[in-house]
């Protein structure tokens, strides 16, 4: 039995512990056992990956972009959730706001989530710019409730929605996962409505450095892909982590974020 691979993850909720204990238990029965280390933020985690303290980092899309930047592209993504390949940003306003399409934000106030959240801050600004809207066209209200966790807690997005309810903003930019958690427009008709949805982009992935050889990464990825939604023990873990199956990384889905980081002058370090 080889030494366990050390996987890093950010502890953005208490449920990260049962998720990774479940993953550790699962991999203990494979040829690629793991252990895990939890970090308080993605900066610490990527630093640990670069320092060789961990073999794999369960990274957000911004953490991936920054790791690519700091390794001059030498790092590689091994796998992601099926849900990571189709992530989206949703622009939401009070029902009946008459906002329709991203261009309708001209002259309005848009509440953004944490500054390091790709879905609730960085990419919304990118899409605004693509639509020809700059900070003179749209007033950006930044709500940095959970900086360091890249928007994982969703708290800043909920605060952005509260800003809309309190009429401190006309609209909010949130991740599709938060919109789904709200039940879209179905559960509380008349409260919120989505008036624009972004193209899909990639979110999290398992990031490794070249020092992790194929002889160790290969069996691990193979075992990861063998997790089966129909197996109740696997399913419990998959449900908590928010996926139905692990899939190969969709690297093209990071193009918009690479462009946004460069255009907005976001540092590749912390």
């Amino acid at each position: 039995m080889s030494e366990p691979l050390l996987v890093g993850a950010v502890a953005y909720t208490p449920n990260v512990v049962p998720i990774w204990e479940g993953m550790r238990d699962y991999f203990a029965d494979t040829d690629a056992p793991i252990d895990f280390i939890l970090y308080s933020n993605y900066g610490r985690q990527v630093d640990a990956l670069l320092a060789g303290s961990i073999d794999l980092a369960w990274n957000t899309n911004l953490a991936w972009v920054r790791t690519v930047g700091q390794t001059q592209g030498a790092c590689r993504a091994l796998a992601m959730r099926d849900t990571d390949t189709v992530f989206q940003t949703v622009l939401v306003a009070r029902a009946g706001s008459n906002l329709d399409g991203i261009e309708s934000l001209r002259g309005k106030r848009l509440a953004l989530g944490s500054q390091d959240s790709a879905q609730a801050a960085i990419l919304p600004v990118h899409y605004l710019q693509q639509a020809g809207l700059d900070s003179d066209s749209v007033e950006l209200i930044r709500i940095n409730s959970d900086v360091g966790k890249h928007g994982d807690t969703g708290r800043s997005e909920l605060d952005a929605l509260r800003a809309v309810l309190e009429e401190r903003a006309d609209a909010a930019a949130i991740g599709i996962n938060t919109w789904e958690a709200m039940g879209r427009e179905d559960l509380m008709p008349g409260a919120f409505e989505a008036f624009w949805t972004s193209p899909t982009y990639s979110h999290c992935n398992f990031t490794a450095l070249p020092s992790l050889g194929a002889d160790r990464a290969g069996p691990w990825v193979e075992a990861l892909f063998a997790m089966d939604w129909e197996n109740p023990r696997h399913r419990e873990i998959l449900e908590m982590e928010g996926l139905r199956k692990w899939v190969p990384p969709e690297l093209a889905g990071y193009a918009s974020l690479f462009e946004a980081v460069e255009t907005q002058g976001i540092s590749i370090q912390w």
Binding site: T153, L158, L161, L187, G190, A191
Partner: protein, 344 residues
């Protein structure tokens, strides 16, 4: 799901959804959080909370005092840890009658020769048996009173054995004459007789059940076996005696009763019993029990109002569903209590 969007639109507080997501999202798995419903109409807010929980895979534990208690994720299957035949609704008990030729001093349903008959009757037994099959019941159990006091006991049993394996509880004392003839008409392949016998000698048994009852019960066991029936023997003992029963086992061995056919249970503080273990709705795994007055939680409490489930015997499926639902609720409440009083 929400059905009347136009009504909810006006009266539901949208902050409620945001609070739900934030508080439940920050909770540990299976943790229970409280979310105030706010000042708007609580009924409609509760409807939204329930719909949100259903949609997001969380569990609404309860709403009281304007506060919703929500479990992160769903609690474990309430039937986890139960044996297959312990799952509520697997067995259906029917009290055929309440009158009895004995007046045992611990009878959980106060049966005696003075007790009114209160019979279910052949029509209801037949319908119950038929509905039991559709409801997923796998075993029928007939008890009393003393069922052999009924002149149509063979018809009642036949209605049951025609559809499901059946057990008939009796004190075994009346198996002669026309009642023996009735026994002989019963289906030996589908019926088990469960005869009450409390001790390997007459003293204890007769002290509770009346002089001479032990001799006649033992004779009844022998007759039933000679007639080709599988016989179980059930003893009711004070709790402290339930662990010292080796002489009893040896006696039953001599009667040819298999180990698996010996039921030794603790005396319950129910009916006319002055002492015994306390059994409550919350501490009893239910066994759906039908009497002429309704559906009860468990046969040991079949004439106790505190364990009446419903007065409506039919449709049986509805009663079984209600018992299962209440059992699941009790278990969920127990878990919730553990969450709120972790040091207690």
């Amino acid at each position: 799901m929400v059905n009347d969007a136009s009504v909810l639109q006006a009266k539901v507080n949208p902050r409620l959804l945001l609070d739900l997501i934030e508080r439940v999202g920050a909770a540990a798995r299976y943790g229970v959080v409280q979310v105030p419903l706010g000042d708007a109409d609580h009924g409609q807010q509760e409807e939204v909370v329930a719909a949100w929980c259903e949609r997001t895979g969380n569990e609404l534990v309860e709403v009281s005092g304007g506060v919703a208690k929500i479990r992160r994720g769903r609690s474990a299957d309430p039937f986890d840890g139960l044996l297959p035949d312990q799952i509520p609704g697997t067995r259906l008990w029917m009290y055929t009658n309440f009158d009895c030729n004995l007046a045992c001093d611990y009878c959980c349903v106060r049966s005696s020769p003075q007790t009114a008959r209160a019979a279910l009757g052949i029509d209801r037994v037949r319908r119950l048996a038929a509905e039991a099959v559709d409801a997923g019941v796998s075993e029928l159990i007939l008890t009393g009173g003393e069922p052999f006091l009924l002149p149509d006991i063979d018809a009642l049993v036949a209605a049951c054995t025609a559809v499901l394996p059946t057990t008939l509880l009796t004190n075994g004392m009346l198996l002669r004459g026309r009642r023996l003839d009735a026994l002989r008409r019963m289906d030996r392949d589908r019926l088990i007789l469960q005869i009450s016998l409390d001790s390997p000698t007459s003293e204890i048994h007769d002290a509770h059940r009346g002089r001479g009852s032990w001799d006649r019960a033992v004779t009844g066991i022998k007759i039933a076996r000679e007639e080709g029936f599988r016989v179980k023997v059930a003893a009711t003992l004070p709790y402290e005696q339930t662990h010292a029963v080796e002489p009893f086992h040896q006696f039953l061995e001599g009667l040819g009763i298999d180990r698996e056919d010996r039921v030794i249970r603790a005396l319950a503080h129910r009916g006319v019993a002055e002492q015994g273990i306390e059994l409550t709705l919350e501490t009893l795994i239910p066994e759906v029990t039908v009497t002429d007055t309704g559906v009860y939680w468990h046969p040991v409490s079949a004439e106790h109002a505190d364990q009446l489930v419903t007065r409506d015997i039919f449709p049986l499926q509805a009663a079984i569903t209600q018992v299962r639902h209440r059992f699941a609720e009790h278990r969920a409440h127990a878990v919730a209590a553990a969450q709120w009083f972790p040091c207690a």
